[in-house]
């Protein structure tokens, strides 16, 4: 009887996580705890980084088999939403419902700054290819430069699902670091005189324009680039809900309950793809370095195009708003505002920077469509 009891206890211990935990899993658990710390204490994009971090923790629990790849687990079924490309467009629906495209409609030239900031994506693609990544992997890594989480997850899930966890973690971490990464690049590429430029007040935008805008954007972008249709279409649907003013219940749901639920599912299932064998390899280090390169090139591309617009307009455009072309809304716009105010305390660039900022959301979706069209 006692022998049986001891054998049972011995079997339980042998099958427990303590005896089955490998060094790699232990390291990944530590990584998960660090990410949780960054999300909770440092508040690095906590809305997504916290569920991602906890997904990493769950996936690397020894024996539990809770990763996105373990058939039968809850997270395996939640992961279907990413695999089938469902969650990112739904997140875009919520983002569209929360976004005001007024500053963009008032100053359509901002779209060019949004386009210029996507140069970082393609330059990083070049760098990744030269470093030996496959074309699909390079495409998935380079989209980090769009500074758009749902877009990065959408592209990575289609082009390089084995790198999804690393890419998502890198993307959201760098988005949180935008206030640190961007200012030195902005100051390096602009003169004080350029940073002091005060821009004219934006014209008022009518409600009709705001209602027509999402329909036109959906039609034009989807006709040109059908691969971008899921993201751009849902973004514009959310915006149409908001601007039409006749579906306030749907707008509220898209802005709140829907996006919150999808964020939880997306975060956990993305994090749960980061198992030790996929995350702890030299390619992950490359992703982290290339992600930083992508952000830097994107910021530089936007600022340099801003300088071109400054020259062409005779000094009416502040080049700093070009850095907001990376679609980290509204963080990048706030960085433009802050750096502009350092040069000229009475300068308020926030609303001017919101134009390129929301243009970057459209631009990164278009860039994602290009990558998917060319590589798939």
């Amino acid at each position: 009887m006692i022998q049986e009891f001891l054998n049972t206890i011995s079997d339980l211990l042998k099958n427990s996580g303590f005896m089955q935990c490998s060094l790699q899993e232990f390291i990944m658990l530590a990584v998960a705890c660090i990410l949780i710390y960054l999300a909770v204490v440092k508040q690095y994009e906590p809305l997504l980084l916290l569920p991602i971090a906890f997904g990493v923790l769950l996936a690397n629990l020894p024996v539990a088999q809770l990763s996105s790849y373990n058939e039968g687990s809850l997270i395996y079924y939640l992961y279907k939403g990413i695999k089938l490309g469902i969650y990112p467009p739904l997140i875009f629906l919520g983002i569209g419902a929360m976004t005001d495209f007024g500053p963009l409609i008032a100053n359509p030239k901002s779209l060019l700054l949004g386009a210029a900031a996507q140069i970082g994506i393609f330059m990083t693609f070049f760098g990744a290819m030269m470093l030996g990544y496959t074309p699909d992997e390079s495409g998935a890594i380079s989209i980090i430069g769009g500074a758009d989480g749902p877009t990065a997850i959408f592209v990575a899930s289609k082009l390089a699902p084995h790198m999804l966890g690393s890419i998502a973690i890198a993307a959201y971490s760098y988005m949180a670091l935008v206030p640190i990464i961007q200012p030195p690049i902005m100051k390096l590429l602009t003169t004080k005189k350029e940073r002091e430029v005060v821009m004219e007040q934006l014209r008022p935008v009518s409600k009709t324009e705001k209602v027509v805008f999402p329909v036109l954007v959906t039609l034009i972008v989807s006709f040109l680039l059908p691969a971008a249709a899921p993201l751009v279409g849902m973004l514009m649907l959310g915006n149409l809900f908001r601007e039409s003013g006749v579906v306030s219940r749907l707008t509220n749901t898209a802005q709140n309950e829907l996006i919150n639920i999808i964020t939880i599912f997306l975060g956990i299932s993305v994090g749960a793809t980061a198992k030790a064998e996929t995350f702890l390899n030299p390619k992950t280090l490359g992703i982290i370095v290339l992600g930083l390169v992508a952000f830097a090139f994107g910021t530089a591309g936007g600022v340099l195009f801003g300088k071109i617009m400054y020259l062409v307009s005779g000094g009416k455009v502040n080049p700093l708003i070009g850095s907001a072309g990376v679609s980290a809304v509204p963080m990048a716009a706030r960085v433009s505002q802050k750096v502009g105010q350092e040069a000229n305390p009475s300068n308020f660039l926030l609303m001017h920077a919101m134009g390129p900022n929301v243009a970057g959301v459209i631009g990164s979706a278009v860039a994602a469509g290009v990558l998917l069209s060319v590589l798939k």
Partner: protein, 130 residues
Amino acid sequence: MDNLNLALNMIFTGVSVVFLCLVLLVFVIYAMPKVLSVFYQKKINNVAVSDSRTVREENGIELNQSKQIPINQKKECNDELLAVITAAVLACFKPEVRSRIRIASFRRVSDTPPVWNGVSRNEQIASKYD
């Protein structure tokens, strides 16, 4: 070599397509208010015609009250509104500053503006004349 070709091809294709797409959107957005103003002009003309029809009916059998506010009454509403808003803004500032304030334009904002719109506006008002 193939990788290099693909990478260069991607740079040129990607940048070109993104710019093409967004430049097209720029033109469409610039054209949008012009096209919409043509429709609005037609609508105003139709309203003027229906108003005159309403007057004829009024002189006939029944009164049909036009639901359109005449343009001169709209202007009066705007002037009154402007006066109230100006008075409210001036009341927030110190007396020595009030003479330097001029309301250049005003417009109605949407009911659910983004948070940063309000923050920016408040910061602008609070710091401009501190």
